[in-house]
Amino acid sequence: MTSMGILLAATGVAKRFESVIALKAASLEVRAGEVHALMGANGAGKSTLVKVLTGVFPADGGEIVIEGQVRRFRSPAEARQAGIVSVYQDPALVPDLTVAQNLRLARVGVEAVRELLVDLGIAGLDFSIFVRDLPYPVLRLIDLSRALASNPTVLLIDEITAALPADLSERIFLILRRWRDRGRSVIFISHRMAEVSTLCDRATILRDGTTVGVTETARGSEERIVNLMLGYEVAHAIAGSKAIAERRLGGDVPALEVRRLRCGHLLKDVSFALRAGEVLGIAALDGQGQEELFDCVAGVRDRDGGEIVVRGRTQRFRHPADALRAGLVLVPANRQQAILPQRSIRENVALPAYRDLRHWGPINMRAERQRVERAIRRLQVDTRAESALQRLSGGNQQKVIIARWLASEFRTLLCYDPTRGIDIGTKRQIYTLVRELAAGGAAVLLFTSELTEIALACDRVIVLFAGRIVHEMPAADADEATLLRASHGLVAQSEGAA
């Protein structure tokens, strides 16, 4: 903090997308010559704030002051002219253009980028190669070099280290420190607490779209940051049933076993065994490999390495139908991927029964009706708008998806953030249902972004960080603070790794 000049000050920034409020009152103050961390749990509004600051979309309210002037950017190009440049979460490079053309697109000099890339550890890159032919980490580094080469006053970096090997991250930090020492500023978003405390000077913490604190990030402040991210509801959060503990789990052969699973650049190496009758929770921040994990075991994409073993048999899923045949069914977070919005509840529930076109002949309507009705009753789906699923609330749609799998047969239920955007009452019902299914002998793998729910629904929880399992514990011990610490890679600070 050589100079106390404020380069960027945002106050009371608000942004909503239709009914979803992404930012309520976000504030951020960045001094000249500092690396400023922007932190918060999933969905706290970090990325939205970055996009508002750089003109990707306009703010609904609040004020952004850049070097003493109130600014309102209508596009990233305008922000760039004012010296605000961002490296977004996903590469902003055009795949069908060459590297050189991409630099020209952003009006950035080739030589400057070449020098920066050398500093970052890439020598001899052919700039006439198409971006689509380059591996992901190289794209991230080109993205960063391109942003730096446009000589910004404030550089925003959203989760650049998430998919990079550790040695590359180190090089990036070196460059960022050099940048800071020149009196420029960096806004740095990362889920990795260790990175934040070594690289950053101060941190602004967001929770539910609101800035809840600004703090120094010297070592030892992790605890304070975690508490700020959590908020004050921690105390009464764990009111649910802990009386689910000791039950005999079925059989010696796991319902689903995953060995050294690797997929894409996010899922590195994950192994676990899930037994019939068990609910295994997965806690992780965005982009730690959980999405790839679910895609692999649900047959949405093929793994790059490792094994998937279902009830003792090694399986290779090339299509979701393969996973269904093996008894694995998926309840996705994005309900639109799973429903037929214009069709009735009954048809939606009965759908998987017809997945095999080899069953010829007319549908046995009575048998179907009975099966469907049973599933719907059990789930207490509100059937007033039964003729088209799109008129049901999100919670009821999610119930219909679970009912669908109840009405067909399954052994292992894969729930990927099933309660996203669902009201609290329905959430409870869904978790009770998950417990009942497990009691009935099903195995359940459950990822949820709401950490308080782990203790409510699960028997055991594993925490993913950077594509690997960093922690495992009984769900009864998994209070939100422990999970949050573990999912930021702060395992050593909790009561010791599994």
């Binding site: 596009s75 760039r80 902003a92 795949p95 020209r104 190669i129 090997p165 550790a166 590195k268």
Partner: protein, 346 residues
């Protein structure tokens, strides 16, 4: 404790290919389409050895409006859009030319041609404005404006008729220097050179490809996405207008319904010529050459005494094969790259 056994290899970028192989990989249609044209000309000569300058002339004339329709469609496709009103815009320019030039002098007809080019660009501008600002899908917008332009053409000229001064017609219907060099061929080459080359070599060319390839990435790179998409439709309208004027030169009259055919066949030529329907890939030369291939097919069938209506079947089959082949090559390259990429650890 987590990154302990991260044995990530050093970043290494695939070594370069040699000059020609690389050129082929970059511009498959710039190599493939001339080859296909030569193959088809050879086939034509084989089955009809008397093929002469007169046939070459009629090929050049017959293919000219299609070549320009393909160019119009290619520009819009590259920018990530689609224009289903190309044929109707050709029809409008065609009847505008034939109805206004009927009693004009040669000099007046040149001025009128320039005005028609402006009108074509304006039609494209209307398409572009609606697509960009209404956020209605481009297919819907241009299908509807296509109906409107088609109606406008009928209002201008109810039934085939009109005309233009002889000198003007001979620009497209005549020959230059040698009976083999058709004016129609020169006109297509000139249109591509005068309109496309300056665009392709300027920043606008880069923006067209960027926006077509990945709109979000282009926006984040600071590109004015709306303006770029708008300009693509303007260029499409301009090429269509040249096509309409060309149609007037080769047929000598205006016909309000003749243009409609060029919407779908132009789209087919663009795809055959290596332009991706997903945007961002391809060029203009490939589609233009594809127009000559597609025009040769029915001619060859007539030479072979086969029902020329088979032409459609063969055209369609050819397009499917070429597009499928392209997809296969991309897939194989992708596989190879994945297995060769040093970044998948272990």
């Amino acid at each position: 404790m987590t990154a302990a056994e991260d044995i990530e290899p050093k970043l290494r970028v695939k070594s370069r290919l040699g000059g020609f192989r690389r050129f082929v990989q970059r511009h498959p249609s710039l190599v493939g389409m001339p080859a296909l044209v030569i193959v088809f000309l050879a086939v034509t000569l084989a089955i009809h050895p008397e093929y002469g300058s007169f046939d070459a002339q009629s090929l050049a004339m017959g293919a000219m409006p299609l070549a320009l329709a393909a160019a119009a469609q290619a520009v819009v496709l590259i920018s990530g859009g689609i224009d289903l009103s190309v044929g109707s815009m050709i029809a409008v320019s065609n009847v505008l030319a034939a109805s206004t030039m009927e009693n004009a002098t040669f000099g007046q007809s040149l001025v009128l041609a320039a005005a028609i080019l402006v009108a074509g660009a304006l039609q494209g501008a209307v398409n572009g404005l609606i697509v960009v600002f209404s956020r209605v899908p481009d297919v819907v917008v241009t299908l509807t404006t296509g109906f409107i332009w088609g109606g406008v053409a009928l209002l201008i000229l109810e039934k085939p008729g009109g005309g233009a001064p002889e000198e003007f017609l001979s620009l497209g219907a005549g020959t230059l220097f040698s009976p083999w060099l058709s004016g129609a061929l020169v006109l297509v080459a000139a249109a591509v050179a005068i309109i496309w080359i300056p665009v392709r070599t300027s920043r606008l060319g880069l923006l067209l490809y960027a926006v077509g390839s990945d709109r979000a990435a282009a926006f984040r790179s600071g590109v004015n996405v709306e303006l770029t998409r708008f300009l693509a439709y303007v260029l499409g309208g301009l090429f269509s207008a040249v096509g309409g004027i060309g149609l007037t030169m080769t047929t000598g009259i205006g016909s309000p319904l003749a243009g409609i055919y060029y919407t779908l066949s132009g789209l087919a030529a663009a795809v055959l010529g290596g332009v991706s329907l997903a945007g961002g890939r391809g060029g203009i030369v490939g589609p233009v050459l594809a127009a000559y291939v597609l025009t040769l097919i029915p001619t060859d069938l007539i030479f072979l005494n086969i029902d020329p209506n088979f032409g459609q079947v063969i055209q369609g089959t050819l397009i499917v094969l070429v597009v499928m082949g392209g997809g296969l090559v991309t897939l194989l390259q992708g596989r190879r790259r994945e297995s060769a990429s040093g970044l998948n650890n272990s």
